[in-house]
Subunit: 357 residues, 2 copies
């Protein structure tokens, strides 16, 4: 079992034990007791809104140590009945759009209303860059010092699916720790927006006013996912352009069919730096929650998201198991070559590969 | 083995045989000979552009009889080296857009250039309605009588994946029979456009000029897939509206990032009834083929499509096998209820289900 260096989970050795004691029995008892104490204590501390306990539990969730994962699962299970009571908000936008400044202003606005806010992140690039969103914590100085805010840098992982799982579990822990609002932040890389969209109630797209043709080059599908588009940095010379961009985005949103939530997506201009428009966005979110709670879409969507993650996790694992078998790896290459040489069809090749055991 | 009624594959009983002959030996010999003769003869007839043989082979492909499927696979394998030399064009549009009239005019234009054209169809509704595209054959009277045209009604099937496989195999047979242009027609139901898009070189969307807001209600993604949009029935009172629609579609196409083919999608107004604009569309397709052959996208795309169908077929089968196990069916329901009751997470439930054998 690989020992994680500098981990918050590292446990100091105890004093040495007399040689006459039965080492193996002691070991068993100690492990059982430690496991029990840790998880029980952590859970009750989390429920008492203890941030240190919450951090430690999230670290367990993120650990690759199988014993830690076992504990993590125990904790999550115990926290589950206390979860599900927050508003989950996804926030995305390209680098430079002012995400950190926005989240800080937005977070402060929410804590000023007496609510507690947790900020998590999905950063698909983090396993390579060691967390580009990690730096944001140092850029949200005011929010970091706020007792009603909790900022957790992005979990890293080998796959977006793995990171997504850890984030979904961290949401449960944050909710059990009594946070009213959970923000899931992401940069617009690869499939990360779709992943975030599938775990939040409200999806906010941050944009900048550009040089006219606002919609060009926007990643496909992202406008469709947005419940609101906030055009940030709408101050000074930018204000006029931001207002023009608002018109164009409103026009674009108009092209899509009605959402299942019946919510008509909003476009807002804002300036996180000058704290303008932030209150409007929070008001829209409250309107959205009120409306979708009333028409039941809020809970329907959460159920659908749960089902999606269940099926998704199973399908990913089935594919992973199949395509990672050494026999399949080798034969897949052969079959692809035969297809390219017009000697077999994709269907005949699939039949052949599925027939291997 | 269920006997298919009214099948073109039905074989008449021969004359009665004397009782002293060894029935079982005769049966074996006959089956072997028949299988061999049939497939060999069918293949060589197909290569000689024999339409009756082509029809019969497609019927074998579409059959649910395992012995027929075995023969079909033999024929496809033999035809493969002679396939891949056509231009595959997908055509879609909602009912009422004038697809039949368009395909007839388009087909006649192509045969007038000395080319041979085959028209296949993917109709996801056909298993229910017994083939709504089937009727089109009677509406393409001129094309049906054309010796250089071959019109085949939609294959029916239990799943879009199954229908897609049959259509892909029919394409191979048509190409081996020397058809220069293969049209795959579909109505815009469910995922059928995406399916057609993933098996053609060029994707044509037929539209009507409407009452102003042309883009509203268009199925998502479809504009992105189009290599050309033809606004049909652009005649008489409709012409002005069609030209306005053209402006709006051009604007919409402009919003998307450049295609991998580097092809800039075209918008054309046409009248299939008056045979106007049809030649322009064919010219665009020839331009497209010339350009993508030169930049190699034509073959890259076909290879990607082959790979897509291989992986897709395997994944569909893996999922089907897993979720149709009776133990999984039962336990999936239980786990979903536990998730809804906050007693487990989608991930823990997935781990549990995957652990069942």
């Amino acid at each position: 079992m690989a020992k994680e260096k500098k981990s918050a989970l590292e446990e100091k050795k105890g004093v040495s034990i007399s040689e006459i004691t039965n080492q193996s029995t002691i070991k068993t008892i100690k492990e059982k007791r430690r496991a029990k104490i840790n998880t029980d204590v952590l859970v009750s501390s989390i429920l008492k809104k203890d941030i240190t306990a919450l951090s430690r539990a999230i670290t367990l969730v993120e650990s690759k140590n199988p014993m830690h994962l076992k504990k993590a699962n125990t904790i999550i299970k115990a926290c589950l009945p206390h979860a599900n009571n927050s508003v989950r908000i996804g926030i995305t936008g390209v680098p430079g759009v002012g995400k950190s400044t926005f989240i800080e202003a937005f977070g402060k606005h929410i804590t000023s209303k007496g609510k507690r806010i947790a900020v998590l992140a999905i950063d698909p690039s983090s396993s390579l860059t060691k967390g580009s969103i990690l730096g944001d914590k140092t850029r949200m100085e005011d929010l970091v010092r706020d007792n009603n805010a909790f900022i957790r840098p992005s979990a890293s992982g080998d796959s977006l699916g793995g990171v997504a799982r850890k984030t979904r579990e961290a949401i449960i822990l944050c909710e059990a720790a009594g946070f009213d609002v959970i923000i899931i932040e992401t940069v617009g890389v690869g499939q990360s927006e779709t992943t975030v969209h599938s775990m939040v109630d409200f999806f906010l797209l941050l944009k900048l006013a550009g040089a006219g043709d606002e919609l060009q080059g926007i990643k496909r599908g992202i406008i469709e996912m947005a419940d609101a588009i906030a055009i940030n940095k709408a101050d000074g010379d930018n204000l006029k352009r931001a207002k023009l961009a608002k018109v164009e985005f409103n026009r674009a949103l108009h092209l899509y069919p009605e959402k299942p939530s019946k919510w008509q997506p909003k476009v807002i201009v804002c300036s996180a730096l000058k704290n303008e428009g932030i209150d409007t966005i929070w008001k829209f979110i409250l309107d959205f929650i009120a409306m979708t709670t009333k028409n039941n879409h809020f809970y329907t969507k959460r159920n659908e998201q749960n089902k999606f993650w269940l099926i998704q996790t199973i399908e990913e694992q089935l594919k992973f198991d199949f395509f990672n078998r050494s026999k399949i790896k080798k034969e897949l290459e052969n079959q692809l070559q035969l297809i390219e040489a017009n000697q077999t069809t994709p269907f005949a090749a699939a039949d052949y590969l599925l027939g291997l055991d």
